[in-house]
């Protein structure tokens, strides 16, 4: 599948905070229609990498290519302008607003000076239906009344609303039960199947093996491996996460230069 043109490509990204060198020559590729899992232990640099992609942290050096073109991303606005959406772990939904209001928050559709509620409700309904979201009773129910899984669903659907090309998901299943995790993973798969490039950050290898097409493992700020999911076993990925190398992985860049 790697012959398709990558949507987002990072080459040799470095990022330091003062004397702390957090990311060393990191390469990352996200393909359209694929779920790329970003795994790594605490402190491996996953969050920093996501924030660098989202434009929250400026990168020190390295190449940021989007759709094959080199781009400069200096802030969150640049990233969302390219079609990159981030769903953070704490979701950022307003509990006092309903689902439609949350999905369009900050980007309300208007009819002159007035809110265009009818179009917003139709579009929200359309997006939820296209992602086969079935667990939401009504698009006009307030977010406070939703379960954790449903909130995650709304947050992901919100990111799909804007014809986004790349969606970064930060630990979407971290706080969910078994059935809810199932629903969210199905949603992630459907999102990718619709042609979006998805980057899934997760600690849970079961989830990763279930839904990801490729796995990028970070170890102490370096890429330990970038492999197709079908080529590795769970044990090998654990080795990559904990030691940065695995004896029998034969993907490209199988070991990090520690």
């Amino acid at each position: 599948m790697s012959e398709t043109q990558p949507l987002l490509e990072l080459r040799g990204i470095n990022k330091s905070f003062g004397v702390v060198h957090v990311l060393h020559d990191v390469d990352l590729t996200i393909y359209p229609g694929q779920v790329t899992a970003l795994v790594g232990d605490n402190g491996a640099g996953k969050s920093t990498l996501v924030k660098a992609i989202a434009g929250i942290y400026p990168i020190d050096d390295g190449e940021y290519r989007f759709d094959g073109q080199p781009v400069n991303v200096h802030g969150p606005k640049d990233a969302s302008g390219l079609g990159i959406e981030v769903v953070y772990q704490d979701l950022a939904l307003c509990e006092n607003l309903d689902i439609v209001e949350n999905m369009f928050l900050g980007r309300e559709m208007k009819n002159g000076p007035l809110l265009d509620e009818t179009t917003m409700e139709s579009k929200a309904r359309e997006v939820l239906a296209s992602l086969s979201v079935r667990t939401v009773k009504s698009v006009r129910q307030s977010v406070a009344s939703l379960s954790g899984g449903q909130r995650q669903t709304v947050a992901i659907a919100k990111s799909a609303l804007w014809n986004s090309k790349v969606v970064l998901l930060d630990e979407p299943t971290a706080a969910l039960g078994v059935a809810q995790t199932r629903q969210v993973l199905d949603l992630v798969r459907r999102l990718a199947d619709s042609g979006v490039g998805v980057l899934l950050i997760s600690h849970n290898l079961t989830d990763v093996f279930e839904v990801a097409d490729r796995i990028t493992a970070l170890y102490l700020g370096r890429v330990a491996a970038d492999v197709a999911t079908k080529d590795v076993t769970s044990r090998q990925v654990v080795e990559l996460i904990t030691t940065g190398r695995s004896s029998d992985v034969d993907g490209p860049a199988a070991t990090a230069k520690v």
Partner: protein, 421 residues
């Protein structure tokens, strides 16, 4: 991929019904919402009805047309101040200085007319601009320096008393006898125009409600049954026509005189109510106010300029406080050094909370201020008629406020238990 979403869950989206089919179902849904803790203004409306019955039985003058007109002029200033506080409370902030903002603005308006001889329009504008400026300062201190609004407005509460003293002079007062200003509370809309206003408002409300209902049905969006829409129009019509009828009666205590018509303050309050309701529920600015009140971090990430919303809300709130001060001055005929002091502010906060606005932010409507303000004014008015010592008035008002705050806290807990918004 195995799919363990069960059939019943599959049907979950099918139950995204765009309509509660019958009036009965809609009523049942409403009962469920109330039992789940989403009461809105219901306790305040019930309280108002109880108060009217109790005071009506206790004193036969309470329900007279003269007293109803009095009640409305007394409630006017409280309601307008409470509207400003509803906006501030929506953000989860508080404005303790709103009372003295009103007093100071009214003093500036009074002095502009009495000392400088400016026309009333310029004087009112000067008062409102002064209020807006005070709000701007508060908003900047709260949002840019990050001082809690409780502390900032406590400082303004003290400071503005000083400014009011300096403007008016120790123990003095400014007479407000300009005809138009006095007329806000003392003059009445001609009977004919009163009826026309009432009918026009009902007709416009009915037309807009029915139109929006038709569009929602046509596009297959979520909507209420037609019967509920019509019931709502009917309730509005009955209330407006009844109020207009009572206020259009001749209420002069002495035969030979004629006092009739709606006091001008009522159309003023209604205009503000419509304007604020419109801004809060139909514009993205209003939506952003709710968002900042509900979750400022989510609002910030959604690209909303949270500081700008905070500052603008304090400016609006203080401008409404200025208007309220002017209405109070119109009713009293003067501005004194204690204008906007004592319990003015607490009455207004009480009105907002009694009406159903949450002290915790993110929940409230402009209508809350009107209903809550009527409750507060009714208590003061009714107890006054019963010749009760003023200590009773304080005790009862305090008790009602405590009751309202308890309702807010309890429903909030229930809401989080049942998961309603």
């Amino acid at each position: 991929m195995t799919d363990i979403i069960t059939d019943s869950e599959e049907a979950g989206f099918a139950s995204d019904r765009t309509q509660s089919h019958t009036l009965g179902e809609a009523f049942q849904a409403y009962v469920n919402r109330v039992r789940g803790g989403d009461m809105g203004a219901l306790p305040a409306i019930l309280g108002l009805i109880v108060l009217f019955i109790v005071f009506g039985l206790a004193n036969d003058r309470f329900l007279s047309a003269l007293n109803m007109a009095n009640l409305i002029t007394q409630a006017g200033a409280i309601i307008v101040l409470a509207m400003g506080l509803v906006l501030v409370l929506l953000l989860g902030e508080i404005d303790l200085s709103a009372g003295f903002t009103g007093g100071t603005s009214a003093a500036i308006m009074g002095l502009a007319i009495a000392d400088k001889g400016y026309p009333w329009g310029v004087a009112v504008l000067a008062g409102v601009v002064a209020g807006a400026f005070i709000g701007l300062l508060i908003g900047l201190l709260v949002s840019k320096l990050g001082i809690p609004s409780f502390v900032v407005t406590l400082a303004f509460f003290l400071g503005l008393q000083g400014i009011l003293l300096k403007l008016i002079g120790d123990g003095g007062s400014v007479r407000v006898d300009q005809e138009v200003i006095r007329g806000i509370t003392k003059n009445n809309v001609p009977v004919m125009w009163g009826w026309i206003f009432a009918v026009v408002i009902i007709a416009v409300f009915a037309a807009l409600s029915l139109r929006s209902h038709r569009i929602k049905v046509a596009k297959g969006l979520q909507h209420q049954p037609l019967a509920v829409v019509i019931a709502r129009i009917a309730v509005l019509a009955v209330i407006l026509l009844a109020v207009t009828y009572v206020l259009n009666l001749n209420r002069a205590p002495n035969p030979g005189f004629v006092i009739e018509g709606i006091p001008y303050v009522l159309p003023l309050v209604i205009a503000l109510l419509i304007l604020l309701t419109f801004v809060l529920s139909r514009t993205s600015y209003g939506r952003h106010i709710y968002a900042v009140g509900g979750n400022p971090e989510a609002a910030r990430r959604a690209g909303i300029n949270v500081d700008r919303i905070r500052i603008s809300v304090f400016v609006l709130g203080s401008s409404l406080a200025a208007l309220s001060g002017i209405i109070a001055a119109s009713n009293l005929g003067k501005v004194s050094t204690s204008s906007g002091g004592s319990n003015t502010l607490l009455y207004a906060v009480g009105a907002a909370v009694i009406g159903g606005t949450s002290l915790f932010g993110g929940k409230g409507k402009a209508l809350d201020a009107v209903i809550g303000g009527l409750v507060i004014a009714t208590i003061a008015n009714g107890l006054g008629l019963l010749d009760q010592a003023s200590y009773i008035n304080f005790l009862v008002t305090g008790g009602v406020l405590l009751l309202a705050a308890s309702v807010d806290a309890i429903t909030r807990r229930r809401r989080s238990a049942t998961g309603l918004g």
